[in-house]
Symmetry: C2
Subunit: 190 residues, 2 copies
Amino acid sequence: MSRWEPGARERLNGAALDLYATKGFEETTVAEIAQAVGLTERTFFRYFADKREVLFAGSELLEKRFVDGAAAAPDDAAPMEVVASAVAASADYFPDERRAYSRKRAAIIEANPALMERELRKMSGLAASLATALRDRGIPDPTAILAAESGVTVFRVAFSQWIADGNERSMVDIEREMFAELGTLASHDR
Amino acid sequence: MSRWEPGARERLNGAALDLYATKGFEETTVAEIAQAVGLTERTFFRYFADKREVLFAGSELLEKRFVDGAAAAPDDAAPMEVVASAVAASADYFPDERRAYSRKRAAIIEANPALMERELRKMSGLAASLATALRDRGIPDPTAILAAESGVTVFRVAFSQWIADGNERSMVDIEREMFAELGTLASHDR
């Protein structure tokens, strides 16, 4: 077996998700994942630090989209425009072809409280990075943190709509609708 | 030693927080907590399931305030009015006398990733309960979940302002300001 298997990462990722979905995350071993695609445990660990990392390997990429999206907003953009730009940029990360994968991943995470906690921490990290991007633009707290957290809320709710059974709308459309909905909601609080 | 020690729960709680703050959460044992207030481990376990529970014993009470606060809103209240009523009701749980305790607890939680994940799950649970209360009023998703999550965001940001160094403003005042700020922010997203 050669040291670098072509497509090994993707095959391991696919096999891991299948096993987590059918056997359960806790019950699946790294040996089983590797075996399912004819690779060794050693090869698995060349790509992923552990079983959990298969599910969270994309976190940094998603965070980078957010931060780059925020940076792309005009200098004079209002705080929520910066946030909307960050969230819209993340939509590229969720094309329609990815929906089936995202659905499967979400079901695995929801079935496991420890994975759920990890996912929530990831969202909290996203909000923290976005808040930093806003502060770097001169937007002070608490406005920066409130805007960033609200943006991540919109993102999370949009994401759960995007992976809902039967949904065929694009992530970017749903996100746009959720920002509009938040605007309507928040203007009627008193 | 009598089976029911007067004030044992509060004394254990206070000793636990002191130890978590000075020695660290992981490094503190239940035996040390009990010993610090002249009680036994057995007595500790009569009040708390484990070390972590000392920090999260109030979660159900906070959730109940949210749900009762939502129920107290008029029948024809707009979604964010219901949410604001829920969040305002929770302010009773954070009187000024509690601030020093809340500050100490927050510092302990922030220093420990596992506790932070547990805290985030608690917030996620609050949002889920509030969303259920909104759905029970006939408010459909995604409006219900977006409004509930936004309310918890306001609560969290208000809470972090409330415990910030030097702050002396009340929780209810800060929450009100954060709802107004969200209204301003969300109406300027395009």
